[in-house]
């Protein structure tokens, strides 16, 4: 089983972190993983993306041609990567920043107002965790508990408030994803 995922958005929306948390948790669950970010001036120009591969097999290429899952936090990310999603694949996108959405009919689309949810929870920083929650809720790429454990050990002492918000954001994402089964 191999899942190839691309997360993309504006620099500062935390797309690299989505990939990192998922790769980290999948590794702890015994899977092979790779995490390959875009880097350089492209990011200063405002967009960032990361290819994450999670597999029960050794990972050959960390470069993803046809993602199974695309997480798009803004419209340019849909425009750039949605055409290459594998037929039957999954698109998770942020309706607040993707006014035109995606026209493809051969994939599952989960449209989530991530900015709204994040501001409801009380911090725009957790926008990427809403997206992460949707990924967890819709795929079996990682278990929620693994991520919760990691976040807790990472943040409990430094920033318990942010931890609570992050976990709330992930849970909201999972709930939303459950409506799509």
């Amino acid at each position: 089983m191999t899942t190839e995922m691309i997360c993309a958005g504006f620099g500062g929306q935390g797309v690299l972190t989505i990939g990192k948390f998922i790769a980290q948790a999948a590794m702890q669950e015994g899977k092979n993983v790779s995490w390959l970010p875009s880097y350089g001036p492209e990011m200063r120009g405002g967009t960032a993306n990361v290819s994450t591969v999670v597999s029960t097999e050794p990972i050959a290429s960390p470069i993803v041609s046809f993602p199974d899952v695309l997480v798009a936090l803004n419209q340019p990310s849909i425009d750039k990567f949605a055409p290459s999603i594998r037929p039957g694949g999954l698109l998770i996108y942020n309706t607040n920043m993707c006014p035109r959405g995606c026209k493809r009919e051969d994939i599952t689309k989960i449209a989530v107002p991530m900015n709204d949810i994040a501001s409801e929870i009380g911090s725009m920083i957790v926008l990427n965790m809403v997206a992460t929650g949707v990924v967890i809720g819709k795929t079996d790429i990682i278990k929620y508990e693994t991520l919760e454990g990691n976040l807790t050990s990472f943040m409990q002492e430094k920033n318990p408030d942010l931890l609570t918000k992050n976990l709330a954001a992930i849970k909201r994402g999972i709930e939303i994803a459950k409506q799509y089964t």
């Binding site: 990192k20 790769a23 980290q24 590794m27 092979n32 993983v33 790779s34 995490w35 390959l36 970010p37 880097y39 350089g40 001036p41 990972i59 050959a60 290429s61 960390p62 470069i63 041609s65 046809f66």
Partner: protein, 359 residues
């Protein structure tokens, strides 16, 4: 030791420290800066020396000095900075000093760009600096292998008193994969390392009246004497060629109709494409040189199965290693090449298409 998710640039730095490297001199450059930054953070913690040199030229000469003092020493850079180190490497090779140099390659020539590329193959394996010398060149293709190559590189450098280059690229530097580190050298092992070169290196005189006089030098004006010195180097290189060739084979069988040759990052993409065409019943094998000098000429010749119609070389350059593949194949089957230049990395889909065209 459990697995840690880490960038290649950080993993190689951590592994170097564990291998007993306590001296590191370098100059910042993308896409290898995480390496120098990791060293800046960690070297003080192990009472090692970190210096951000004023240039790559200075850094490699600091390496010359430290290597001449018999200590494990490393520098790292990316392509434009490696070019500046070439003078120093020629002197280090000439003076037969052990050291490790990491090149996290990017697109060239000139300032080029900062994306992954393999355009420094010729420079690394055929010279780069002046004179008759060789670097031992290790070519990792995963973060784990990148890290593992640290201790391998230091051991080879010490064993042969020769500079060793780890030829990675921006993708391996920036990518995170799980790594498992070997345990760090113990104090006793470090002590042993510190003593291994005392017979020739710059060190305090402890021989009493029989005071030693060690010269760290590559100058010899008498051509007859220099000739003997270079012949000695060549003998050493022949020894390295005999003992130190390493390669990986993937999906090699008598059914292979195409044999691919690829190294480093490029080989990862080729493996994915092979997995795909295999599903269509097309048999393609891969040989990956793990070290690109010494080069596995004989191995390539040996794995060309009886059904192989074509040897296909894929590189992230305009065709450099393919010249070595042609030497290995000796015209027995056609050798084709396809690559990407300028820091553009080919995708599995593109390689798959190229392979499908062979059938």
């Amino acid at each position: 030791m459990s697995k840690i998710l880490m960038k290649g640039n950080e993993a190689i730095a951590e592994a170097a420290i564990r291998s007993g490297c306590r001296l590191y001199f370098a100059y910042p450059i993308t896409p290898q800066s995480e390496l120098i930054e990791y060293m800046a953070k960690m070297m003080p913690k192990v009472k090692g020396t970190f210096i951000q040199a004023e240039s790559e030229v200075a850094a490699i000469n600091m390496v010359y000095g430290a290597a001449g003092s018999g200590k494990r020493v490393m520098t790292s850079s990316s392509s434009p900075g490696i070019s500046l180190k070439m003078e120093g490497l020629s002197y280090i090779a000439g003076a037969e000093l052990p050291c490790v140099v990491v090149n996290v390659q990017r697109g060239g020539p000139g300032l080029g760009d900062i994306q992954p590329a393999q355009g420094d193959y010729f420079q690394a394996t055929k010279g780069g600096g002046h004179g008759d010398y060789r670097l031992i060149v290790l070519a990792p293709s995963s973060v784990q292998e990148f890290a593992d190559m640290a201790s391998e590189a230091f051991d080879l450098a010490d064993k042969y008193r020769n500079p060793v280059m780890i030829l990675a690229d921006g993708m391996l530097g920036q990518m995170m994969e799980p790594v498992e580190f070997k345990p760090a050298k113990t104090d006793a092992e470090l002590q042993e390392l510190a003593n291994q070169h005392l017979s020739w290196c710059i060190c305090p005189n402890e021989d009493g009246a029989k005071k030693h006089h060690h010269e760290i030098n590559s100058l010899e004006l008498d051509p007859q004497v220099l000739e003997q010195h270079v012949l000695g180097l060549l003998k050493k290189y022949a020894e390295i060629q005999k003992n130190e060739i390493r390669y990986e084979t993937y999906n090699i069988s008598d059914e292979n109709e195409v044999l691919c040759v690829a190294w480093g990052t490029a080989s990862r993409v080729v493996k994915s494409a092979i997995n795909e065409v295999q599903k269509q019943g097309k048999s393609v094998g891969l040989i990956r040189p793990i070290r690109v000098w010494p080069y596995p000429y004989e191995a390539i010749k040996q794995v060309i199965g009886k059904n192989v119609k074509k040897v296909y070389v894929f590189e992230l350059n305009s065709g450099q290693m393919v010249e070595d593949v042609k030497i290995a194949v000796e015209g027995k089957v056609p050798v084709d090449f396809w690559g990407k230049v300028g820091g553009v990395v080919f995708t599995p889909a593109e390689i798959k298409e190229k392979l499908e065209e062979c059938f």
